[in-house]
Each structure stands twice: as C-alpha cells, then as structure tokens.
C-alpha cells in the first residue's frame, strides 16, 4: 500500500557551493589566468617587493624610535625620535602648554559629536546635528580662544600644527555648507538677478586656485575693511577658505537638488506650502541625505588644501613641521618630517573616504 506523503517541513538553507577551493585555485583564477596575466602578475609582485623592502627596512626595521635628541639616531634608518621630540608642537603649535587641556577637550568634544552623527546606532540625530552645528562652534571658540569665563586668552598667532589644520578644515566646511545651500538655491531661482549673482559667484570662486584666494584674503581683504579694524590673519584665511569652499559646496548641493523628482515639490506646492517650506521641509532634507558622500569628498579635498595657508604665514601641520626642519638640532631629517605629515593627512582622509564609501553603499541599498 503506497501512501502519498506531503513534506511540509522546510529544507534547511545551505551555503552556495564554492567555485573553487584553496590558495592554489585562487592564485590560478586571479593571478595566473593565461600567459599575459601571469607575466603581468609576476612583474607587479617583483615591483612591490623591490619597492616596499627598502621602505620597510628604512621606516621600521632600521628605524630609531626612542630617545630625546639626534644622538639617539645612529642606526641609519628613519629617525622617528625627531617626531616624538617635537610631537606636542606638531599637534598644538605654540599654544601654551599649561592650557593645552583646552585643545584636548575641544578635540574630545568634536570626536564625540562626530561619532554621534556618524554611527547609525546612536539616536537623536537631529539634536546631534543642532549641537554640532550651533552649540559646538561657540563652545569650541571659547575653549580655544579663551578670554572669558576666567580662561586666559590665547591669540590665534599662537595656534598651530594639527590643531590649526583641523580648525581651518572644520570651520571651512561647516560655514560653507549653509552658504553653499543658499547659492545652489539661488542658482535654480527663477529670479534673474538672484540667479546671475549666484552663477557669477560660484563660477568666480571655482575658477581661481585656493592659493590666490589666500593671497587675496591676506593682502586684499584689509583694503576693504576700515583700518581701525585689525582683522586677524586666521579670520582672513577662514573667510577666504569659506567663500572658496562654498562655491564647491553649491555644486554638490545642486546635484542633490536635481536628484529629487519634480513631483515632490509639486505635491508640497499643491498643499499650499510656500517656497521656503517646500525647500526646508521636503526638498532639502531628501537632497542632503544624497549629498553626504559629495560633501565628504569636498571635505577631503579641502582638508588637504588647508596646508596652503603656510604661504600666508600660518603654521598649520605642514608649516610647523617644515619650521622644525630648519632647527639646527635636527638638520637633515626632512624625509621623516614629510612622511609624518603625509601619514597624518592620510589617516584623516582615508577615514573620511571609507566613511563616505560606507554611506554610499548604505544609501544605495537602504530606503
């Protein structure tokens, strides 16, 4: 007697079969697929070994790490003692050492705010954004500059190093964002005057190199303000960087605005919303989300460009390392200096780049 059975228990999920297993198979599939591939792979491997071996030898194996003066550097490799001896100056510039806790506190606050904004698991993003964009700059100004609440003032010509680089980059990006939004909206405006002013502004700043902007800011800006206002050199550089950056930001924002379907604004208009409500409540919140990767990219570019301020006599990270190279005690260690600067810039830019890639993936799939 045969019985018809109905199997209702689901079959367990199985992993997909592997196409090939083991290192040999992987090598064959990826590096040695055919004669041309094999030759190219071998050449690339040889170039890597030939290039990296001396570098690793110099930077790690033969390097000197511990000590306080150049006498500690005797093994012929890199002299990282130079960096560690001058490390505090590279970070804080000429900021008085007993007040450096204020810089540290600012850095920590900044890191906390960024983590809050960047990590998706943490709640209350709107509050975090308001704190970062409105409250934090005020707190940071009073902490860094001082001069009130019983904290002694530290004039900006004593600021320097990584701290100054971060101040330039962060102020540049944060101040440029709202200006960029206004410019991008202006560029799309139906009012001819608003539109042409925005277009001329954007195209002007996009057409000049940052280095000339900085020269103009330090030489020309004083011509436009009354002589009794002695404008701080750092403030002048910040104004120049912000205007320059806002033109780039405007183009990023414009891209975001164009990605929002026209129907969104129409639906808002049909509900009786005026222009600013349509933009502020409907179009910009959606566009900003799409713009984050673009904003991060311009931020990376700006972060590197801030090193140009050395030509107007501000001591950012690069400038201060260069100044230290001229020190008679440490002559001849310029390679270490520049490698260190490059490494610090790379850490920051790589971090931002990874974050933006992560966001792009997330925005691509999530919805």
């Amino acid at each position: 007697m045969s019985k018809l059975t109905l199997n209702t228990t689901p079959v367990d999920a199985r992993p997909a079969p592997k196409r090939s297993i083991g290192a040999i198979a992987w090598l064959r599939a990826n590096l040695f697929q055919g004669p041309i591939n094999s030759v190219l792979s071998l050449l690339a491997i040889w170039a890597l070994i030939a290039g990296l071996t001396p570098l690793i030898q110099w930077a790690i194996i033969d390097a000197d790490w511990i000590g306080t003066s150049r006498e500690a550097c005797s093994s012929g490799g890199a002299c990282w003692v130079f960096i560690s001896a001058r490390f505090e100056q590279f970070i804080y510039g000429f900021y008085p050492s007993e007040l450096r806790w204020r810089v540290n506190l600012t850095f920590v606050l900044f890191a906390v705010m960024i983590a809050w904004l960047a990590l998706p698991r943490l709640p209350a993003k709107k509050l975090a954004a308001v704190l970062t964009l409105v409250i934090f700059p005020i707190v940071a100004f009073y902490l860094l500059h001082g001069g009130s609440f019983g904290m002694p003032a530290v004039p900006t010509h004593r600021w320097g190093g990584l701290m100054l680089t971060l101040v330039l980059a962060v102020v540049g990006i944060v101040a440029a964002l709202p200006i960029g939004v206004v410019l991008a909206l202006g560029r799309q405006s139906k009012m001819p005057i608003v539109k042409s002013i925005s277009v001329v502004f954007i195209e002007f700043w996009r057409g000049v190199p940052l280095i000339t902007v900085l020269f103009m800011a330090s030489v020309m800006l004083p011509l436009f303000v009354p002589t009794e206002v002695d404008m701080d050199k750092l403030v002048r550089a910040l104004i120049g960087i912000t205007l320059f950056q806002s033109a780039y930001m405007a183009e990023v924002v414009r891209g975001g605005l164009q990605a929002i379907p026209k129907g969104q604004e129409e639906a808002a208009a049909a509900l009786g919303m005026g222009y600013w409500k349509r933009m502020g409540l409907i179009v910009l919140p959606q566009a900003l989300k799409m713009m984050i990767p673009g904003i991060v990219n311009t931020f990376i570019a700006l972060f590197k460009d801030t090193s140009l301020v050395l030509i107007i006599g501000l001591f950012d990270l690069l400038a201060i390392v260069q100044a230290a190279l001229a020190d008679a005690d440490w002559l001849g260690y310029s390679i270490e200096g520049y490698v260190f600067v490059a490494f610090v810039f790379w850490i920051f830019c790589f971090g931002m780049s990874r974050y933006s890639q992560y966001l792009e993936r997330k925005l691509h799939t999530g919805h």
């Binding site: 129907g263 129409e266 639906a267 208009a269 509900l271 009786g272 919303m273 409500k277 919805h367």
Partner: protein, 254 residues
C-alpha cells in the same frame, strides 16, 4: 465630514474663461471654457497628450496659463504668490505617481501641511490625520514610511493627505493608472465615497466604470480642446463627435 463643501453659496467652484496655454510654440490648451459648480463631479478623458493634466494643473497654478482667466472659489488667479497659495489651500490634488514624501512617515505626510501651513497644533493635526487615514482604511499603517506600502495604499494615503487640508475641491490626475489592476478598486472605492459625500471633484481618468457611477458630466478633450461634454449616459451611449466615438471605441475595447 465634508459638510463645508455643501452648496453654501452658489458661486461656481471653478470658472475658466478663454483659457489658452503654450509650451514654447506648442499650443497645448485652446480656448477652454469650463465652469464647475460646487458639489459637481467631473470626469475628463481624452487621448494621451491632449492636455488633460495641463488643464487641471492650471487650476492650482502648477502650470501657468498665458491667456484667459481662472477663478477658484471666487478668488481670481493672478501671478501673486500669496494669492496662489490662498487658492491652493482650497484645492486638493492627487497625482498619478502619488508623490508622497518618502522621508516622512505616513502620519507625518498627512499632518505636515496642517501644522506648517494652517498652523494647527501638532496633536490636533495628528488626530486629524488619523481620522482621515481611518477613512481611507489605512490607519494601522500610520507609522510606516511610504516606501513600505503598496501602490494602492500609497495612493490612499495621498488622498488622505489632501483631505487633511479640508479642500473644497479635489483634483485627480490619473490616480489609478500607475497601479496594478488588483489595487485599482481600493482607490476607486475611496473616490466613490468621497463623491457620495458631496466633494467637488475633477478627475482625469480612463476608468469608465467610475465615470458612469459618479460623474455628473464627462468631458472629452483632444488636441488641447474640449470636444464634447455631456452627462455620462448620453456621453457613452450617444457620442456626438467622430473623435469621441473613435476614442471610446479604443478605450472600451473594440
């Protein structure tokens, strides 16, 4: 619920006289004269590109006309932004592709305009939104986002969103033509209920069953002109113009 739309006064809801519109050199609306009384339900049909969408989008100034006049709820349309917004407060619109705000929840979609445009307190606006979401039978989805809903559900939310502004007239631009067949009915049912409650409605649609049950008048447009308008029964059974006959034969199938 929509008792404010009852024929409180007898000025027409919408009046268009000698309306002409061009896109560049393309004459898209030609000498349109149309009066819609309060409480009237009108269905507009016609071949693709005949200017149906353009016509109803002129009523809330999503499109600008170049000649002629439009009076909505007694307010003459001008270029003035405040005037346009004032007119839009009385005119609800439902789009073919729903146009819900994807970054806001269903509840926020519905309460946004009451809060920001009519300055209602948030709680009141949300209560109102829930009330209309219940009417379109989707209250249980209030906290979802539009992307998590089916097309039919999204369109019902879009209708609720418009109703939250207490419009005196509702414009529908092919509200069911982006929907899968099995979802068309749930949206049409909501529209029929709305019509039964006395809402003034202008619907661009090719749902001829809907036109037969609810329309007071059916308007046929072709090449930017109103070719024929009539009550549904004579319109479908005894069309006058050759173009109407051709169109009806195509749309009703053979």
């Amino acid at each position: 619920m929509t008792s404010q739309t009852a024929k409180a006064d007898d000025t027409p809801m919408i009046e268009m006289r000698g309306l002409n519109k061009w896109y560049g050199d393309f004459h898209v609306l030609r000498d349109i004269d149309l009066t819609v009384q309060r409480g009237e339900r009108i269905v507009i049909c016609g071949p693709s590109g005949s200017g149906k969408s353009t016509l109803i989008r002129c009523i809330n100034h999503l499109e600008e006309h170049q000649q002629g006049e439009i009076v909505v709820g007694g307010i003459p349309m001008t270029q003035d932004v405040k005037r346009i917004e004032q007119i839009r407060h009385h005119v609800g619109m439902v789009f073919q592709h729903f146009n819900l705000f994807p970054h806001l929840s269903v509840l926020e979609n519905c309460s946004l305009a009451p809060i920001w445009v009519q300055k209602k307190p948030r709680r009141e606006a949300e209560a109102l939104a829930m009330q209309y979401l219940e009417r379109v039978r989707i209250a249980e989805q209030a906290h979802k986002f539009p992307g998590q809903l089916s097309g039919g559900q999204q369109q019902r939310v879009a209708i609720a969103r418009s109703l939250c502004m207490h419009p005196e007239v509702m414009l529908f631009d092919e509200p069911t033509s982006a929907l899968d067949p099995e979802m068309i009915k749930e949206v049409l049912d909501v529209m029929v209920e709305l019509a039964e409650e006395g809402m003034t409605m202008l619907c661009v649609t090719h749902e001829m069953g809907f036109a037969k049950t609810v329309a007071d008048r059916v308007i046929f447009m072709d090449q930017g002109q109103i070719i024929e308008e009539n009550a549904p029964e004579p319109f479908f059974n005894d069309p006058q113009s050759e173009r109407t006959k051709l169109f009806l034969s195509q749309i009703l199938g053979h």
